[in-house]
């Protein structure tokens, strides 16, 4: 077996889904061999960079690559959007981290992805399909131009519902509307996986709660090391403190305290602004030079 992590974390492919969403495929044969749905990596762009957690959106065991889908929202993800081209490399990539999502006994599954959450729910949908489950995909986007990976989902879903806020593709509405439609026509759904922004995951949890469908969400709080050492990613689940990096990132949606999660995601809002301003200034100076 390959016993070394690569000396360089090469980006072998990049694809842009919109002006803020992009895909990076990274060569890491060892990780590609063992990655499981639900796991994530910690990434550092350069020596001065921060460590950011990103869910593994796909892995190709034969090609030896893992795929990340990233939205340029903060300083680091914007800088990555600018710097990461095919042929360049990341400073550090470590993983796969976190407890893999348990796939298995579910017979009929609802896989819900909203916005950027569409990407990380894909390995779960494919995993359930490989386990022989009936998979219903529900994907939500703002508008048609932002839709991505529809073909990938078609290949592993028995049914696929695409929702757009403005109705420009698929049905008009939020993922929760798509879920309601799926639940209405399938009374025997026994599990739901929902990944997306906290607001969306909370709404999904409320859709499945009255139907008592076991629902799993993947939480993405701030992390530093990703190995359980700093406790920055602590979340409240069923009244208990859990670390998303080693106890999760998957948790029972009906137990998660989403208010707590939302508040903790705003921890560094001010510093994030400073970082973006500082970076914009640097970009401006570089352009002048």
């Amino acid at each position: 077996m390959i016993a070394h992590v690569p000396a360089r974390f090469d980006i072998v492919a990049r694809q842009d889904f919109s002006d803020v969403t992009y895909l990076l495929e990274i060569a890491h044969p060892m990780m590609a061999r063992v990655a499981q749905p639900g796991q994530f990596v910690m990434v550092m762009l350069h020596e001065h960079g921060e460590r950011i957690p990103l869910t593994i959106a796909d892995f190709d065991r034969d090609k030896g690559t893992i795929t990340l889908v990233i939205q340029a929202v903060g300083k680091t993800t914007r800088e990555m959007q600018q710097a990461c081209r095919t042929g360049t490399a990341l400073h550090a990539v470590v993983g796969p981290m976190g407890v893999p999502s348990p796939l298995g006994h579910a017979r009929k599954v609802l896989c819900v992805g909203g916005g950027l959450g569409v990407a990380p729910v894909f390995p779960q949908a494919r995993g359930f399909k490989e386990q022989g489950a009936f998979v219903i995909g529900v994907l939500g986007f703002r508008t048609k131009a932002l839709v991505f990976w529809e073909d990938k989902f078609r290949s592993c879903c028995d049914e696929l519902i695409v929702c757009t806020d403005d109705g420009s593709a698929g049905m008009a509405g939020k993922v929760t509307d798509g879920m309601a439609r799926a639940i209405a026509s399938h009374s025997d759904i026994d599990e739901c996986v929902a990944i997306g922004p906290p607001v969306m995951m909370r709404a999904c949890a409320e859709v499945t709660r009255p139907h008592r469908i076991r629902t799993v969400v993947s939480l993405n709080p701030l992390m530093v090391d990703g190995t359980g050492m700093c406790g920055g990613c602590r979340v409240k689940v069923g009244g208990q403190v859990k670390f998303a990096c080693v106890d999760g990132p998957d948790f029972d949606a009906h137990q998660v305290d989403f208010d707590d999660l939302a508040a903790r995601l705003r921890r560094f809002a001010e510093q994030e602004r400073t970082a973006v301003e500082h970076w914009n200034e640097q970009c401006r100076l570089r352009q002048l030079a």
């Binding site: 016993a3 990780m31 550090a92 409240k236 508040a263 705003r266 970082a275 500082h278």
Partner: protein
Amino acid sequence: MTEKPRKKTIRTIPQQRTPVREQDPKVRVTNFSEVTSAYREEDALNEAERCLVCPDQPCIAGCPVNINIPGFIQKIVSKDFRGAYDVITATNLLPAVCGRVCPQESQCEGVCTVGDTLEPVAIGRLERWVGDRAIDQGWVNIPFIEPRPFRIGIVGSGPAGMACAADMAKAGCEVTVFEALHQPGGVLRYGIPDFRLPNVVIDAEIRNLEKLGVAFECNTLVGRLFTIEQMIGEMGFDAVFIGTGAGYPSMPGIPGESLNGVLSANELLTRCNLMRAKEFPEFDTPLPLGRRVAVIGAGNTAMDAMRVSLRLGAGTVHCIYRRSRAECPARAEEVHHAEQEGVEFHWLTNPVEILDDGRGGVRAMRCVRMELGDPDESGRRRPHPVAGSEHEIETDLVVFAIGTNANPIMGQTSKLRLNRRGYIEADADLATSLAGVFAGGDIVTGAATVIEAMGAGRRAARSMKQYLGIRDLDAPYQAEGPGAERLFGIDLREQNFARIRLA
């Protein structure tokens, strides 16, 4: 011609412990440079004269790795500084680190014979002086290493892993150290701040290990990328040492602890030290800044968190500890330095609630006063809250440094037997429930010190050698009396044998 050295007595040695220059507290709280300067050569020579070379040598027994302390001090006296380095490195790989971070007052210096009458010999400062000189002069002790066909995997590059790696490399094995973070060093790197242990010292010690042939592989999360079972199986490691540390900071379980101004000391220190958040925004990692910081706990980690907070610009820093100063587990020097730097200590005080500022942050902390009752199982007197003593301490950043729990990754990913508290179960030889797998340091004992972790790493290396059938140089072979049968002077029990591996 050798002159017989005059016998030293408590009256003839220098009476005063040689002082060391320190940065002025007012200046040093504004920088991250080292607080304590090194001894100069004349300081070291003077302090070395204070060792009585007493016959019972309690300091050696007081040292977790049993450094020949009088031995190295006498080398300093005779100005054979390289010799002093050789004596220390015969047992301790990292003198520049241990001289700085060991709690000497409860180890070697605590039992020093001179200390019965005067202040004890400043063993730590002397050790550090020798270690720094070695870095400065580029000394490194690479013994003649006879290669052996064994591959050793070490999980975690902290002090336990480094010590075990060094011993196994010296025994001729091919050693690979796996580290999950992007830089090696473990707690030395992410935990201990620069003003106590500069990065150049860690870098130098790691370079020394590399010179011994040890390979470091960062960005490797053992357990998830591959398992311990795979290491001793398909990956072909003959033995594995797990020194992953405890990690997983404890939270106190009081209302308000998930507010945004509340974090663990590990997080604060990791952001500041490893990720260089103190240089934000030149470095991308942000840091929560507090004007009035309250640190809960009074161990070394707590002291580091307080002193880092001062350097980051906090106006006031409170130390909240539920026992009294006498029970405070930090190194005496750290408490002293923290006091000098203006930390306000609240002994016998315990937090009961963290109060909201209405915007998700912290406004204050409600505390109670404590009194000490009967000793508990640890021998320390158990604190009890005093009724009606509730009071508020104004703070906008609360840092918890109240210890750690076991990191769950090893337990989640292997069949290693764990104890009730989730730590890896290991016997007196530090062997775990899996053959060929050894464990030591915080992941076995719970949070302890750097030198204790190093001691565990060395103990595990000894057991590993025994397990692999490598003759341990520390345990010289002695023929047992006339009963042992010999042929041409060779013990008959000493036969050729070959280790085989079943495919």
